[in-house]
């Protein structure tokens, strides 16, 4: 070896570079460096994927509450264009704000709800949920008589309803006045608005799912995959904080159909209910239906002991 080093002979030099001094230490170093580089590439691959799916404008977008009216218009125009590009649907995304002097409250008559699930389906269609998973903001829990503990119920019941020994408890977001889901959000992507609706800025949510874990009513949903909705089934009547098609990897929830209710209309689940079990209204209006129910019926609050103060009531008659 020493001889070759001292008298190099160009003619016999191999065409490929020979690793000189090829010790085991170097081999191990090299192997780990290669592994490290590979691991790094693998680790950042989601970022490369994200870069492909995320425009600079989307990445730079401010929190909803900090957007100026002009910025909001730009954001909405971009989202409408994205809906056209990705779903082939012409949608109108509004920015419905709370009606002053309004506090929305929902009530369900458990004496007449028969668990048929039309509300679940109506929510699915109205809110542009993923068609593959039949996603919906509402779960109807089939409950054994004699308890109000929703954890003892089942959502998998099928067939003819109502069954004699059961009652049916539809559960969706209770729009709590003390919402634990809002408290735990590390980036303030979810908050409570003046009319009581707890909303999510889907473009600010980082998908950590703390809120989903915090909600005692199991009311939040995570978009595990990009929602699939055929163009002809897309509900084009949308709102930024409500039923616009959500991106993958964010949390979503019932908004009391704010794209309808903030325009004076009834929520989709209520209109779909064939038993008339659902009542919706403004509790600040002393003549409202909802106010009469709270004053005259036997009213139950789900998991009242948790102190979440729901804007959602169950009643019996």
């Amino acid at each position: 070896m020493a001889n070759t080093e001292s008298t190099p002979q160009p003619t016999s030099k191999p065409s490929l570079p020979v690793v000189q001094n090829f010790t085991r230490r170097a081999a191990v170093k090299g192997a780990f460096a290669t592994l490290g580089a590979g691991a790094f590439v693998a680790a950042v691959s989601p970022l490369r994927q994200a870069a492909k799916n995320t425009t600079a404008a989307e990445f730079m977008q401010q929190h909803y509450t900090e957007l100026s009216p002009e910025q909001k218009a730009d954001v909405i125009a971009r989202l409408e264009a994205e809906a056209k590009e990705q779903y082939g649907a012409d949608v109108q995304i509004a920015d419905d704000r709370p009606i002053p002097g309004t506090k929305f409250v929902y009530a369900i008559n458990l004496s007449v709800c028969n668990g048929n699930g039309k509300c679940v389906e109506a929510c699915h269609k109205e809110n542009n949920h993923d068609r593959d998973t039949n996603q919906s903001y509402i779960r109807v829990v089939e409950m054994p008589k004699g308890t109000m503990d929703m954890e003892k119920g089942s959502t998998t019941y099928t067939g003819t309803v109502p069954k004699d020994d059961k009652f049916y408890l539809p559960v969706q977001c209770q729009q709590c006045d003390e919402p634990p889901c809002v408290d735990v959000c590390p980036v303030k992507a979810t908050w409570k608005e003046e009319d009581g609706i707890v909303v999510v800025d889907y473009n600010w949510c980082i998908g950590c799912r703390y809120c989903e874990a915090a909600c005692p009513y199991h009311a939040r949903r995570f978009n595990w995959k990009k929602p699939v909705v055929p163009a002809e089934e897309i509900n084009p009547d949308q709102s930024y904080l409500s039923n616009r098609v959500r991106p993958v990897g964010v949390v979503e929830k019932c908004t009391y159909c704010l794209h309808r209710t903030r325009r004076g209309r009834l929520p989709a689940c209520l209109e779909a209910c064939p038993t008339g079990a659902r009542v919706f209204g403004n509790i600040l209006d002393k003549d409202s239906n909802i106010r009469w129910i709270l004053e005259n019926k036997r009213v139950y609050i789900l998991k009242e002991e948790l102190g979440t103060k729901p804007a959602f009531f169950y009643y019996f008659d």
């Binding site: 691959s45 509004a94 419905d96 709370p98 009606i99 002053p100 002097g101 009530a107 008559n109 007449v112 028969n114 668990g115 048929n116 699930g117 039309k118 679940v120 389906e121 699915h124 998973t133 039949n134 996603q135 919906s136 779960r139 959502t155 998998t156 019941y157 099928t158 067939g159 003819t160 309803v161 109502p162 199991h218 949903r221 595990w224 995959k225 990009k226 209710t261 325009r263 004076g264 209309r265 009834l266 209520l270 209109e271 209910c273 064939p274 038993t275 008339g276 009542v279 919706f280 209204g281 403004n282 003549d287 239906n289 909802i290 009469w292 129910i293 005259n296 019926k297 009643y315 008659d317």
Partner: protein
């Protein structure tokens, strides 16, 4: 098709000013109403005049009118004939001995009645077969059947008047549009008023619905392969 008409305006009738437009035209979102523009403008700006003078109506769907009885066979033109109640009952004297269809010799024999112990003439008017009658004998048009139901079912009627019984569509906010409600017999067959059983159709496939033998933690696990 059953027309939509104002049946009553709820307990706050005095406060609700019936909309001057034809209720059918004002139906849904109040598109044809004079203040539609202002309400849509208000929705954009988030402002609304709380004491806007005009309120839309609560419209309660009424039945068409007296039922028509389908007759067996076809007439020479191939139509299946229908007859008004009075076609037969105006020439027959009422037999108050028949309290259920079970004792009838002819007609109405297949009718199943499960409405308490009510006899036919508790609700049907023996003097005028094309109307109903109240407990005090006052005749009531079929269109106003809810007046009759409410005699016994006053609790439901009260709840109905306050939106706590019966389905509805349209608007919660009558400043912005009308509300449409259905009547008693849209859900309750007067002869057999128990609300019918239903079959569950739509089911979300959420994680609570995943079969117990499936240990996949992620619903979207399959889609990860695409990345």
């Amino acid at each position: 098709m059953v027309g939509i008409v104002v049946w009553q305006q709820g307990h706050r009738a005095g406060e609700r000013i019936e909309h001057p437009e034809d209720p059918l035209a004002a139906r849904y979102a109040g598109a044809a109403s004079p203040d539609a523009e202002s309400s849509s403008a208000a929705q954009v700006s988030g402002e609304h005049e709380a004491d806007s003078a005009e309120l839309f109506s609560v419209l309660i769907r009424k039945p068409d009118g007296p039922p028509r009885v389908k007759l067996a066979g076809r007439d020479p033109q191939g139509r299946s004939p229908e007859a008004a109640c009075s076609t037969c009952h105006s020439i027959r004297d009422p037999n108050f001995g028949n309290t259920t269809p079970a004792t009838l010799d002819e007609f109405h024999q297949g009718l199943s009645v499960a409405h308490g112990n009510l006899a036919c003439y508790a609700c049907h008017n023996p003097q005028d077969a094309d109307t109903l009658r109240l407990a005090d004998g006052t005749a009531v048009a079929y269109q106003d059947v809810m007046t009759m139901c409410s005699q016994c079912h006053s609790q439901q009627a009260e709840s109905f008047a306050h939106g706590a019984h019966g389905g509805m569509t349209g608007h919660w906010d009558l400043r912005r549009g009308p509300q449409m409600k259905i009547n008693c017999i849209d859900c309750h067959d007067p002869h057999s008023p128990v609300y019918p059983k239903m079959v569950v159709g739509f089911k979300p496939k959420d994680r609570f619905n995943v079969p117990a033998d499936d240990h996949h933690d992620h619903e979207g696990a399959d889609s990860h392969g695409e990345h």
